[in-house]
Amino acid sequence: MSYVEINNISISFGGLRAVDNFFLRQEKGELHGLIGPNGAGKTTVFNLLTGVYKPDRGTFFLDGENMTGKNTIKLNHEGIARTFQNIRLFGNMSVIDNVKVGLHNNNKYSAAAGVFRLPKYFRTEKEMNEKAAELLDLFELLPDKDVLSSNLPYGKQRRLEIARALASSPKYLLLDEPAAGMNPNETADLMKMIRFVRDHFDMTILLIEHDMKLVSGICEKISVLNFGQLLAQGETSQVLRDPEVIKAYLGQ
């Protein structure tokens, strides 16, 4: 059994088949790209995998465990973390607090321990601060740790979102258009960063992206979605030469 196994998941909204029989196999540490024209159902696949929607049909296994039909919170506890197409940070909280929310379920103490400042509070907070600082340092955000996250420049906000997702020590990381709105330099940095995350954490990553340079640069395999259906899947270089894919998405 593969590390990630998605078998024929489907969902319809009214008469519209948003995702139809999507399947995917990923080994641990594999970086898979998901591409396709606008409205093809890429983000819907993410929403299915993170429990925002429940699939009408199909199954989803991660590391041998059945994830099908679980809700968002439970799926996060099971090790699925994601970033969003339109950045969703906790804007009125500091950068380090954003990461500490990501650590919420790894370092626990009760509300009472927090209110009455029991020793457990100080011990856990120290651990959290250290872990969060470590993550922020990896993403070169440590100098900004006390800045409100909404005051960060765009590129840093994207990085912070990934840092927050990694804070929950996920097994499976879903990145939704991480390069959207970035200039070529920032995209090049982002590519390095995603590769680094994969190598450093041995992370299994599924990535939605429109920037073909980024996709062909870092993804070993890709899937192409069109009108909710899988058009092609396989080695990146082969799929990108597929005439069907060129016709539907890349253009002549």
Binding site: I73, N76, D97, V101, G102, G114, L138, L142
Partner: protein, 369 residues
């Protein structure tokens, strides 16, 4: 982005500092203590009149109300318009408890803390009861439901008939208790419908009230600055991201509704044990809005600002009494001006400059010494 596959050296962690928030919190807690200390002193030296003295304890329970409402409105980010309803529950439950037990538990040192706990818990139960059905609501809809809740509580309290005799308690709703059921010789009326609750022992004084303010502040400030507080604020800032970060939204919303109602209940108990007369109609929509005004002007999510705004805005109408019929007009103008000063970018810039200027002077002075 670092390319080296290295762990962060411990050295990096040692060089960065983590801001301690303890100092800030102590200042916030000291503000009411100093304020009431100074006021008490001025009253005892006769600078301030006894009329002013009578305002100090009510000010305490308004501070508790405002700080607890700020937990819901500022930290969780849900507009609640029925906060006075929880206060009403606390005032009645705590008041009735003390009324009934004033002969059995004679020491106010035991009776009053018990009344506080019971009144607070009763309000917290109401907070959770109202919290469960409105979990799916937010924004305007939640505000409307809480508004209705406040009015319902007020109306229920105005329709309760409660009397005590040798056989125990007698309860009736909407209609007076059948006199045939009562033993007239030992009968004591506790609640008579729309009539006020009277005869609650006056257990509260300024010291007790101040202690309760400090406890409220410690609990709420510590809660905000903890794992729980971060979870609550993450729900406020982005519900979807909070959920996908594994935050249990239901749990944290209920914690906030419960805790916020608990402290409103405590404020209510304080009120009924200080005012000799507790009337349900005092805990109406206007009171809820008044407290919301304190919170909004003090700054959403900012406890220190809330305390200062409560003190200023509560004292203001009393200080303006000399203006007679123009009093509320001036009050309204002051509110508008405060709102503008709080939010206008130019004013904010000037405030920062002033702060920097004052701070620099202080530093220079310290260096001179």
């Amino acid at each position: 982005m670092k390319n080296k596959k290295t762990d962060v050296s411990a050295g990096v962690l040692k060089t960065i500092g983590f801001k301690s928030t303890a100092g800030n919190k102590i200042i916030t807690i000291l503000i009411p203590i100093l304020f009431f200390g100074i006021c008490q002193m001025l009253v005892s030296y006769g600078v301030l009149g006894s009329l002013f003295e009578g305002l100090l304890v009510p000010l305490c329970f308004y501070i508790i109300m405002a700080v607890s409402l700020n937990l819901t409105v500022g930290i969780l980010g849900e507009l609640s318009l029925g906060h006075a309803g929880f206060m009403c529950v606390g005032a009645y439950v705590g008041g009735i408890f003390s009324f009934i037990t004033q002969e059995t538990i004679t020491s106010p040192w035991i009776r009053f803390p018990l009344a506080i706990l019971i009144g607070g818990l009763a309000a917290a139960i109401f907070g959770l009861l109202i919290g469960i059905p409105i979990l799916r609501l937010s924004g305007d809809y939640l505000a409307i439901v809480t508004l209705a809740f406040g009015e319902i509580v007020k109306n229920i309290m105005q329709n309760i008939y409660l009397a005590k005799d040798i056989n125990g308690l007698h309860f009736s709703f909407a209609t007076a208790i059948d006199p045939a059921k009562l033993d007239m010789a030992t009968k004591v009326d506790i609640l008579k419908g729309p009539m006020a609750l009277k005869g609650v022992p006056r257990d509260a004084n300024l010291i007790v009230a101040l202690v309760l303010v400090v406890i409220t502040l410690i609990v709420i400030l510590n809660l905000i600055d903890s794992r729980t507080g971060r979870a609550i604020m993450s729900i406020r800032d982005n519900r979807i991201a909070a959920e996908s970060s594994g935050i249990n939204i239901t749990k944290y919303k209920l914690i906030v509704f419960g805790l916020s109602a608990f402290f409103a209940g405590v404020a209510g108990v304080l009120a009924s044990h200080y005012n000799m007369v507790t009337e349900a109609k005092k805990f109406d929509y206007n009171t809820s809005i008044l407290i919301l005004v304190f919170v909004v002007l003090g700054g959403l999510g900012k406890m220190r600002g809330t305390i200062i705004a409560t003190i200023l805005l509560y004292a203001l109408p009393e200080l303006l009494r000399g203006l007679q019929s123009y009093r509320m007009l001036v009050y309204a103008i002051v509110l508008i001006v405060m709102m503008i000063v709080n939010n206008n970018p130019w004013f904010i810039e000037q405030r920062k400059r002033l702060k920097a200027f004052l701070f620099k002077n202080k530093k220079a002075e310290m260096e001179e010494n």
